[in-house]
Symmetry: C2
């Protein structure tokens, strides 16, 4: 058995059966091993940013790492932006980077680069394999690191000769250890704050954004009067009818301050202290009011369901059903507004849809309008590295066959990872992409004002992507994804309904 | 004057008047400063890999750095692959990365990343500005580093508050220092080798691949009987009628060995020891024969023209005109072969064209067929990070208005930086892109054989990008670049001739 075969066997024995790949020469033995060893689904992506974004979403949907396959330092580099998002989402990824043969690396051939240095920005664990015999144990260690709750990017650097040499040994991987409940002191302290009558907010993040802990948080909130708020960009949030309705930290800084206004006690549940996305002249970066007491109930590494259940028990808080969101919306008509796009989505999405939200500025109002939609999962851009939406749709669709993926995608951001549409076509994934085509970097126009800059012609030109206008129907068609254009809400309703009936991917360019 | 204004003034005073940009919030004051300070050409790119690839080509054409403008660590990450190519091309780039405000960075907001760590893999110089007052001197130091002969990637990290705070001071930049001639000992040693009658090869790279030093090398070769060979992937090579005809190190390893077979003495001129691109089981990585004497005549940091002139003088080698390449080819017809594509190109390219060659496997035979073309420059992928062609075409066209850019572009590689077509359309650049659409990763099929892997269905699927076939006419059209498809050489001749007559960009999908 060569090293590559021991790698594939070790992955499969650990239950890792999906690899997103953009391979090169140094990974040829891995690819060849897949021929001889059944059981691994290998998803080809034409750009590494699609590989890593897909692996991120796969973990968010399954709680199980996928493997990646990247080619040398530059191939890794192309995937870093979405590894950054995966790090912020706390997703586990077994990130495999092929490299030059051990004895070739010192020769400084053209592709030679500092792979460890490039991996460090997003990886919690980095291992370079030294020989075929150590591949198995190295990949097992990498898998264990990737699975460390709640999930981490773990990078294995695989020199080509360690893949092709004989002497590979399959290694077993220790099962992941379950996270622990928060310390009883922290639970008792939170209970005291929630009973002392002062204005209190529970900020919920990470693994606490699952159905059971969210319902416990909701029950605690109803019982104590505390406010609830979510992290700004949930990695994955169960929403819709029958689920609790909670807003998230607004992106604009003044709205961010407003969300915490009057709060005297902030309790952090599986998240970190809230800060503004960017700094602005003369404004604080911390969002909670000055002097606000901050208590860490549970860290992102702890068990949110157990912790909130224990807190509810301490408080004698009964289980309370989520509020009725009212009737399901019907299809709107008229001009295109964010609210109407949300309404159309709520009216038409099937049960258990997966919404990928890289809608950026246009999408800030999508939450209120979709509370009454059928149950669904909502996934956001966690790390601010734009270009995550199309890749995440790939990974979510591979992770959850039978569930419809609807990607709400800003046009400027889509340009960073366009190639993901091709993988959607190749794998015949049930993905509906709605391009929100405002033909500008709308968020930056807001930011220019936010930092007090007064834009002239040159600055405005740098926010304007309308010259020429991107033709999304042609771009998608060129990748093998059928596409149509909607210029009003009725057309959106019709195209969305048609897309949801059709199997495989399709795209709607919504001119907003 | 705020820090951003001092940055723009300092760049302009140093003669740096072009910035390739994909800005975000942290760069808004830089962008706003461009409104108030005339003289800077700001080229918007929709993806950072276009920014850095364009800046690389700009330097190759002008010998003058452009500035980049990238957004935080993830924005830098997206540009690393082409910074890697720029490092291998020894191109000077003033690589400006905006970052969080100094006081915001410790809060670990979502986009926070290890910018220095990400920059290190390709930057010879990294500076983080600490205050508005130091922006001017920091950018001057960055410019000086970028200009250090023959050119380096120099990174300036610019926290947002250092851009927006008042107190900026414009700084002067020291003029670049001229490179030195090689040591007289090295020149004397080379002369001895060239006179001792043993088989000798001059390997020419870097700045020696300019018209004057190449002609000197040619004259020395004719006078002494030494062989000439070029680096595998010239950053920029003057070619065509009236220029010397030299082949480059072949990519396939056995052809690489063959190019050095029988050589007993290897003289390196502004390049490093030749090594195979990848390692292969049981084969050496060094290309020169075992026991071959290797002499460094000049390093890449030395003056090639002075050195070769001095060597020619030592040898009493007279100036010898390049060989006559024969008549200019006429348009071929019939089936599509690499030789006929080269012939069509040689028949039709205008004087002083700039050829961007990311043709990868299909393009290996393009050199012999184009010796008799009109004088032109040829630029290649230097670092093996595919996806450099479309961005380089942007940078070359911006750098050399009035000269036609012809990009020979493999289809798989083009998918990494497709967004560059949009900038070509926006800036109305005279770029003709020929997509060599073989609909596979052809190079990897060769590599699979080269490493002894025997591909089955799964492996072959990973090399196959025909399912679905990319429609390059739609992809280009979606970016605002008119496109047509050629399925035989006559169609290529016609479309190429039409494209060369037309101003602005166009694309030909050549189905091979």
């Amino acid at each position: 058995m060569n090293g590559a075969e021991s790698l594939v066997h070790t992955l499969l024995q650990a239950g890792i059966d999906t690899v997103f790949a953009n391979p090169g020469t140094s990974e040829m033995h891995f690819v060849a091993a897949l021929d001889r060893i059944p059981g691994m689904r290998c998803v080809l992506c034409l750009d590494e940013t699609v590989v890593t974004g897909a692996a991120d979403a796969y973990y968010r949907m399954t709680g199980k790492p996928a493997a990646t396959l990247l080619h040398c330092g530059p191939g890794l580099a192309n995937g870093i932006a979405n590894l950054h998002n995966a790090r912020r989402a706390r997703s586990g990824i077994v990130n495999i980077v092929g490299d030059h043969a051990t004895y070739h690396r010192p020769l400084d051939a053209p592709l030679t680069a500092d792979v460890e240095g490039l991996a460090a920005a997003s990886s919690a664990f980095i291992r370079r394999t030294e020989s075929a015999a150590s591949v198995g144990t190295d990949v097992a260690a990498t898998i264990a690191a990737a699975r460390q709750f709640p999930g981490q990017v773990a990078t294995l650097i695989l020199p080509a000769d360690t893949a092709w040499e004989e002497g590979g040994v399959v290694a077993g991987t220790a099962p992941p250890t379950a996270p622990e409940v928060a310390a009883s002191d922290a639970i008792a302290a939170a209970a005291r704050l929630l009973r002392n009558g002062r204005p209190t907010l529970l900020l919920i993040g990470g693994a606490a954004m699952a159905e059971t802990p969210l319902r416990a948080a909701w029950s605690i909130s109803r019982h104590t009067g505390a406010k609830l708020l979510l992290e700004r960009s949930p990695a994955r949030l169960p929403r819709g009818r029958g689920r609790v309705q909670i807003e998230r930290i607004p992106y604009p800084i003044d709205q961010g301050f407003a969300a915490f206004a009057g709060i005297e006690q902030l309790i952090l549940v599986n998240t970190t202290r809230p800060v503004s996305f960017f700094a602005y002249p003369g404004k604080r970066g911390a969002l909670e009011p000055e002097g606000c007491d901050v208590l860490v109930l549970s860290t992102p590494e702890q068990d949110a369901a157990l912790t909130l259940a224990a807190l509810a028990e301490t408080l004698d808080a009964p289980d309370i059903a989520p509020a009725d969101p009212g009737p399901r919306p019907t299809c709107p008509d008229g001009a295109i507004t964010p609210e109407k796009v949300a309404q159309s989505l709520a009216a038409l999405m099937p049960e258990n849809a997966i919404i990928i939200d890289e809608a950026i500025s246009f999408g800030r109002g999508f939450f209120p309008g979709t509370h009454a939609a059928p149950p669904h999962d909502w996934m956001m851009l966690t790390g601010g590295s734009i270009g995550d939406g199309i890749p995440m749709a790939v990974g979510a669709a591979i992770a959850a066959p039978g569930r419809r993926v609807i990607a709400l995608q800003a046009d400027g951001s889509a340009m960073y990872s366009l190639a993901g549409l091709w993988t959607q076509a190749r794998e015949r994934l049930d993905v509906t992409t709605i391009i929100l085509a405002n033909r500008k970097y709308a968020i930056l126009l807001g930011e220019l004002a936010g930092v007090g800059a007064n834009p002239g012609r040159t600055a405005l030109d740098m926010m304007d992507i309308s010259n020429p206008a991107l033709d999304w129907c042609q771009l998608a068609g060129g990748m093998g994804v059928p596409a149509d254009r909607a210029t009003n809400i009725n057309e959106l309703n019709e195209l969305l309904a048609a897309s949801l009936r059709r199997s495989g991917p399709s795209l709607i360019e919504l001119v907003i």
